[in-house]
Subunit: 324 residues, 2 copies
């Protein structure tokens, strides 16, 4: 299981390869939220999302022999790009199995990062079967997107940075809002903060209709989403919390915060105007919660903007809908 | 005159108040440019541009008595916001004289940062007369936008960061491309690099038809722009190089690089897709030069993206024109 020692070991492996992402803020966002809002800009990580951290953590921890044979991953986008670039930087092959309806930009980028992309039909084909066959044929190591201790440890390095950057600003108490899909980023950050910033509490943030983690925390057991598509928040539509991540989230996180797609788009537009960063819809749900659902939160909120891989068309739509 | 000791003193005053902005990169941009491209993301500085550095440097160096009376500045936008926020953070009043045709976002932000904004007609009124009258009436200190050693020292702190961040990546030779208007940022960076990274050479970058610095370097004396408006690069349309900045630029910088407005918009779109940052047209001219005018440059180019205060409409237009 992931613990703080594993997260610190991951940070040592990531050092000089991953970016330390900045903690941004704007008095305009503070005014909207009615409290202090800090934004951890994980969209500025390599490949445009935090996923590079977990991918690098897992690949760098493989034995040289296993690593040389290559890795395989399933992903609709951000994990794909993280694994593809981390593999290329290690000089090893990668195969990424992606749904054919993933955003065009994410598929193109994954290929351009040097991965062999295998597309499948979400409805008619089983990605697990395709993956099992390719893994066996080529002896590839599977890099899971979230339910893997080394990946959780990699995402947790973002939590170490949050603790240090916030403490440098004199903050010893904060609510840390994290976009959630399978829960890898949230559980990594929660574990890091448990050890390094005990006054910080994490909260999962999700889009309406894809609030499996929120409902799981209410019922106390893993609940599924009714649907796996149909949201602009494509980055965070995992079917259910992970078997490894859920117990960590249950033990450490506060209740879930659910935002509408419109609020996520509004948060994207405000991040554009006020922070000068590009955030994708799924990556903006925590900022949306900080800005529009702050009633239950404390004086200082840290919102993780987890990714920025959004097509220009969707981004233009957000700016047009929310010009101010 | 500004020297490295003044720049280091400015950094000490800025410490904990200004942001250390990240040095970003993308393999996709390297491929386009045919060389390694690093981007100093000054758009992520407070108020969305490097101008906060110079404003803070100048205001923080005033005597407590002078400072308490307040400051005044002339600016079409980014300097205005930098001075307004730096003044507010010092708890002192500021008056900003802005042309009535400045971008709406910049005027609104300057007001929201707490400044008293006085608008004037560029054609019919003299901003100098308005400024002189207000300064005299209220005993305000003028914070010049570039031709002021303390302001140059503040902008130079960005150069100190560039030297350290690039050296941490093992880079000891680079061409550093800087958007130029009056030359404050360029001369500050050039002075910092002269002392801290002698293998780095700075180059001024300008939009077509507003290439006063480039022409001044060719002729050896200060040349003026024929026009002062009519470009999307509103942030960098000073009439001519400064009397203080020009000799520094002449001594330390390479020849100017001139880009078209279309190339600046294309660079903005690529910064959106590949770096997840928001850059305004004037702030993108150095990145445009790195991507599209690299023939004369070396293997490693560092492009400063100097600001991100762009209206949503212009940004959407850039994304629509350059979707890839």
């Amino acid at each position: 299981m992931t613990d703080i020692a594993m997260i610190e070991a991951a940070r040592a492996r990531l050092d000089g390869h991953a970016r330390v992402t900045p903690l941004l803020s704007s008095p305009f966002l503070d005014d909207i939220a009615g409290r202090r809002v800090l934004v951890k800009a994980e969209c500025l990580q390599h490949t445009g999302s935090f996923k590079f951290r977990g991918a690098w953590s897992a690949i760098s921890a493989l034995s040289p022999e296993d690593r040389a044979r290559g890795v395989i991953a399933f992903s609709s986008g951000n994990h794909a790009q993280g694994v593809a670039l981390a593999a290329r930087m290690h000089g090893i092959p990668s195969v990424i199995i992606m749904p054919a309806d993933a955003p065009a930009l994410k598929i193109a980028n994954t290929r351009a990062y040097g991965a062999e992309v295998v597309l499948y039909d979400r409805v008619k084909e089983s990605r697990d079967e395709i993956g099992a066959r390719l893994s066996k044929e080529r002896n590839l190591t599977l890099i899971k997107p979230f339910d893997e201790p080394l990946v959780i440890a990699g995402q947790g390095t973002s939590g170490l940075e949050i603790a240090e950057q916030a403490q440098a600003l004199g903050i010893d108490k904060a609510d840390v809002l994290v976009p959630v899909s399978g829960g890898g980023l949230l559980s990594g950050i929660a574990l890091a903060l448990e050890a390094k910033a005990p006054g910080f509490v994490t909260y999962p943030c999700e889009p309406e209709n894809f609030d499996d983690m929120t409902r799981s925390l209410v019922s106390g057991k893993i609940e599924r989403n009714a649907s796996l598509s149909g949201s602009l928040c494509d980055a965070i539509l995992a079917p259910q919390p992970g078997d490894i991540t859920f117990p960590i989230v249950k033990r450490l996180a506060g209740p879930g915060l659910v935002v509408t797609e419109e609020q996520a788009l509004h948060a994207m537009a405000l991040a554009f105007t006020r922070l000068k960063i590009v955030v994708e819809p799924g990556g903006a749900v925590a900022l949306a919660a900080a800005l529009f659902h702050g009633e239950t939160l404390g004086e200082t909120v840290i919102a993780v903007c987890s990714g920025g891989n959004v097509d220009g068309e969707v981004f233009r739509m957000a700016l047009e809908k929310f010009p101010d």
